[in-house]
C-alpha cells in the first residue's frame, strides 16, 4: 500500500539525530512488547509481514506521532484481534475471558535461544529463476492496496541484477494470508540518477532486494 511507512526519498523530516550511549530500551514496556513479539512469532501466531502490514495500516498521523514500540503495540493488538487470538473486550479488560486457541508451539525459557534466532525464509522453488546476475531489469509500476516490499521510489525504474538470494516466501502473499507463494529474490541496483533525476549525486548507487514478480526484463 502507498502508506506513510514508505519513506524513501521524502523531504522535510530534518536531521538524523543520534543518541549517545543509547540504552537497549528506554522504558520497561518496550522490552516487554519486543519479547511478546518474539514469543508470538515463535508460537506461529503470525508472520513478520503480518506485523509490518498492521503497522502500515496505522493512520498516517498515528504512525508519525507514535514511538517505534508504540507502533508495535498497536500493530500487535490488531493482529491479536484480527486473527481471533483474543477479543477487544479481553484487551480492554486486561484479562482473558475465554480459553485461548491452540498455537503451533510455545516459547519457554528452555528454548529461548530459538526465539532469538531468525527463522529461514528460504522456500522450495516453484520454477527456474527468470533472471541472472548482470541482467538489466525494470521494476513494475504497481500500487497494490495491500502489503508490498517494493518501495515507491524504486517503481518503474531501470536497474541491474547484482545478487540472487534464492527462493523466499513472498511477503505480498503472506501478509494477506495467501500462503508462502515462493519467489526468487534478487538484489537490484540502480544508478542514483535513474531514481532521483539529473541532479542526483553522480556517485550514488542504491539497491533494493526485489522479488521476481516485481521485475520485468529490460
Amino acid at each position: 500500500m502507498d502508506g506513510i511507512h514508505d519513506m524513501g526519498g521524502m523531504d522535510g523530516f530534518g536531521k538524523v539525530e543520534s543518541e549517545p550511549n543509547e540504552p537497549p530500551f528506554h522504558e520497561t514496556w518496550e522490552g516487554r512488547i519486543l519479547a511478546l513479539q518474539r514469543a508470538m512469532d515463535y508460537a506461529g501466531a503470525w508472520h513478520i509481514d503480518h506485523e509490518r502490514f498492521a503497522r502500515e495500516r496505522l493512520p498516517p498521523q498515528v504512525y508519525l506521532t507514535s514511538s517505534y514500540y508504540q507502533k508495535w503495540a498497536l500493530a500487535m493488538e490488531m493482529n491479536v484481534v484480527e486473527r481471533g487470538l483474543a477479543s477487544p473486550e479481553e484487551l480492554r479488560a486486561g484479562h482473558a475471558l475465554k480459553p485461548g486457541k491452540t498455537l503451533k508451539r510455545k516459547l519457554t525459557p528452555a528454548v529461548v535461544q530459538d526465539g532469538l534466532t531468525r527463522g529461514s525464509f528460504f522456500r522450495q522453488q516453484q520454477a527456474p529463476a527468470k533472471f541472472k546476475i548482470g541482467d538489466r531489469v525494470r521494476t513494475l509500476n504497481i500500487h497494490p492496496k495491500t502489503h508490498t516490499r517494493l518501495p515507491r521510489y524504486a517503481r518503474g525504474k531501470l536497474g541491474m541484477v547484482e545478487l540472487c538470494h534464492g527462493c523466499h516466501m513472498f511477503p505480498d502473499s503472506v501478509a494477506i494470508n495467501l500462503g508462502d507463494n515462493p519467489q526468487w529474490l534478487y538484489t537490484v541496483v540502480f544508478d542514483g540518477r535513474e531514481l532521483w533525476g539529473a541532479d542526483a549525486d553522480p556517485k550514488l548507487k542504491v539497491s533494493i532486494d526485489a522479488f521476481e514478480p516485481y521485475l520485468e526484463p529490460a
Partner: protein, 224 residues
C-alpha cells in the same frame, strides 16, 4: 474514558477524527497509557496460554546483556586479520559467521559488504526497521526514524554529514535498502596504524555505526 476510547480505537476498527485531535506527546500520561496497554496484552496472551512470562524475561535480558554490536565487531576484527575468513565472509556471511562459536547462532540471509577506497556502503530500511540484529543488537532510534529512512537513499552524503563523516567526492556511495529478509553488515576498512594489533584490540575500534555505514572505525589511539 477518552484515553480508554483512544487506546482501543484501532482494534475495533472505527476511528473518528475527534479521537485524534490531541497531540501524542511522549509525556508521562501517554507512556502510562502505553504501559497499561502493553501490560494488558501480556496478561491476556499469558492467560490464553500463548506466552510464558519467564521466556519474555529471558528475551529482554538477552537484548540488554548479550546481543549487541560486539558480535559484529568480533566478525569485522577477524576479517581484518584472517584473509581466508574474510573471503568466506564476503562469499557467504551466514556460513562464515556460523563458524565463530563465540558470536552465537545466527539465522540465514546475512550478507557482508566491503568498504574500499572506492566504495562506501551504507545500510537502511526505508520501509520499516530491518537490521542485522544478531550482529549489532537492536537498531538505534535514529536508524528507525523518519529522517534516516527518508534521506539515506536520496542524500546519503547529507546523512553522513549529520554523523560528522565526510567522504571524498569521487567515492561511490552504495546504499543497500533492506527491503526483504536479507540483512547487510558493512565491513569497514581497517584503519592505518593498527599493524600487529590483536583481534581483540581491533574489535574495540569497530563501532556500531561503522558496520551500518554511517560512521567509520575509531582512530587508533583514540580513547573515546
Amino acid at each position: 474514558m477518552m484515553a480508554q476510547r483512544h487506546a482501543f480505537c484501532f482494534i475495533v476498527g472505527h476511528m473518528s477524527g475527534h479521537d485524534h485531535d490531541h497531540h501524542h506527546d511522549h509525556d508521562h500520561s501517554e507512556l502510562s497509557e502505553t504501559q497499561l496497554r502493553v501490560r494488558a496484552l501480556e496478561t491476556v496472551l499469558t492467560e490464553k496460554g500463548y506466552v510464558d512470562p519467564a521466556a519474555l524475561d529471558a528475551i529482554v535480558e538477552a537484548y540488554e546483556t548479550r546481543i549487541g554490536p560486539r558480535n559484529g565487531a568480533a566478525v569485522v576484527a577477524k576479517a581484518w586479520c584472517d584473509p581466508a575468513f574474510k573471503q568466506g565472509l564476503l562469499a557467504d556471511a551466514s556460513k562464515a559467521v556460523a563458524t565463530l562459536g563465540h558470536v552465537g547462532r545466527i539465522g540465514d540471509h546475512l550478507v557482508a559488504v566491503e568498504n574500499t577506497p572506492k566504495i562506501h556502503n551504507m545500510v537502511v530500511c526505508t520501509l520499516c526497521s530491518c537490521y542485522p540484529w544478531e550482529m549489532l543488537g537492536l537498531p538505534p532510534i535514529w536508524y528507525k526514524s523518519a529522517p534516516y529512512r527518508s534521506r539515506a537513499v536520496k542524500d546519503p552524503r547529507g546523512v553522513l554529514e549529520d554523523f560528522g563523516v565526510s567522504l571524498p567526492k569521487d567515492t561511490e556511495i552504495r546504499v543497500w535498502d533492506s527491503t526483504a529478509e536479507t540483512r547487510f553488515l558493512v565491513l569497514p576498512m581497517r584503519p592505518a596504524g593498527t599493524d600487529g594489533w590483536s583481534e581483540q584490540q581491533l574489535a574495540e575500534i569497530v563501532t556500531r555505526d561503522s558496520m551500518i555505514g554511517t560512521g567509520l572505525p575509531k582512530h587508533p589511539g583514540s580513547t573515546s
